[in-house]
Symmetry: C2
Subunit: 224 residues, 2 copies
DNA sequence: ACAAAAGTGTTTTCGATACACCCATGT
DNA sequence: ACATGGGTGTATCGAAAACACTTTTGT
């Protein structure tokens, strides 16, 4: 259907994902460098325009793959961004997603049809971003912090399981906060996000640590 | 800018709000009856197509006013809905909002240019809805339950302040749960959502109750 | 004085915090 | 045997839950 009324004509939808990783206690986000106008040469979050034949999440995943080569990542929608002038070309509303994965497990494409570079940036050392992506990233970081205590979003960072010391470092990195080891264990186990695998241990040159894994389904707790 | 690539052509944005009220312990949502195709004659949530010259929230508020006459209401965006076929006419992505207000304080328009009726429906007695509005409403109810314990969204239900017994009935209605009176007081005051006005009492034929009001700004608590 | 609804305090229970020692491994 | 990091238990504190009586008003 062709829209005639210019109040509605020429609208489009962006699907934008803030893809995070944690490396040695540093939370990082994946940025790509644009090769086209608008914002040519600027760093932005991964994403692009939604196609008519795909759902929101599918579009976000396609854009991720096209522009970074990353394929297996779980993403969660968190907010829409729709300021009138957020895109200089036409009216675009962005649907924001977040995801987290292990950067060491992916073969990041440095250049693609639409990007001239891609890299992981510590979230406290972000260059100027194109579009409204600084705002999206800001909100995405807050959302990530919420989701790591209420969802299994970290599962995709640890697809092969995780030890409690590893997990503690991750939480400390993302929440920017230190925890007592014994209390952290109790707290995290109480969240019912992970379960003991019983099976395997993992070695790092000292006493082996038990391996836990994130549950596939998290049931939400009572609100009040 | 005119889009040529048919992968992107002809997209649009809906702004849809689930407007709630609570009457005598019953949580209700405002529905309007469509006067046009598609879904002519169907009940739907308040909303419509976003204009190019307005932000998301402004568009949602304009649609609310146009189709219900309601003007002063606070709304919060909560989720985007973008299944490929959610609109039969063209590709539309919906941005969902929730809001709550006192139905007794509004003069609801029963008919407008685009609607043939409007009414409040108990959320457990919802007729079949057009578009994907049943899904949007379902998610909106969950979101409302979250927001009443984490935000001051209820402020617009009680613009002149509220007593604790009134509030308790409201929470019980929305959360579908009963509370002990003494514990409810402690709990709700601990949330730091409301403050004592000291000033006024309110009579209902018995002992007057103290009036509290919702704060304008809520600071969020530690996540973990 | 009675009915109706508001207001309040104490005990108990449970989860959160603070804190120190033992254990398994590699060298 | 020593160094390194993993694992665990207890005492204390504070929040949440259970629970009953008193107060204010209108009639």
């Amino acid at each position: 259907m062709e829209v005639k009324n210019k109040l509605y004509k020429g609208q489009g939808i962006h699907v934008i994902t803030a893809l995070f990783t944690v490396e040695q206690g540093i939370t990082k986000v994946l940025l790509i460098k644009r090769k086209n106008e608008p914002f040519l040469g600027d760093w932005v979050l991964t994403g692009g325009a939604l196609y008519n034949n795909e759902d929101l999440e599918a579009g976000a995943l396609r854009e991720i793959e096209e522009k970074t080569g990353i394929t297996k990542v779980k993403i969660n929608q968190f907010k829409a961004f729709g300021k009138v002038d957020r895109s200089p070309v036409m009216r675009m509303v962005a649907i924001g997603f977040i995801g987290i994965l292990d950067s060491k497990r992916v073969n990041l494409l440095r250049e693609t049809k639409n990007t001239s570079n891609a890299d992981w940036f510590p979230i406290d050392k972000i260059p100027p971003l194109g579009y409204d992506h600084e705002e999206i990233l800001h909100d995405a970081i807050l959302e990530l912090r919420k989701q790591i205590v209420k969802s299994n979003i970290l599962k995709s960072l640890f697809p092969d399981g995780v030890t409690l010391p590893e997990l503690q470092k991750t939480y400390e990195a993302i929440l920017d906060k230190k925890f007592d080891r014994r209390n952290f264990r109790k707290k995290i186990l109480n969240l019912d996000l992970i379960e003991d695998t019983n099976t395997s241990d993992r070695f790092e040159g000292n006493k082996p640590a038990k391996v836990y894994k994130f549950k596939d389904k998290i049931e939400d707790k009572d609100i009040f």
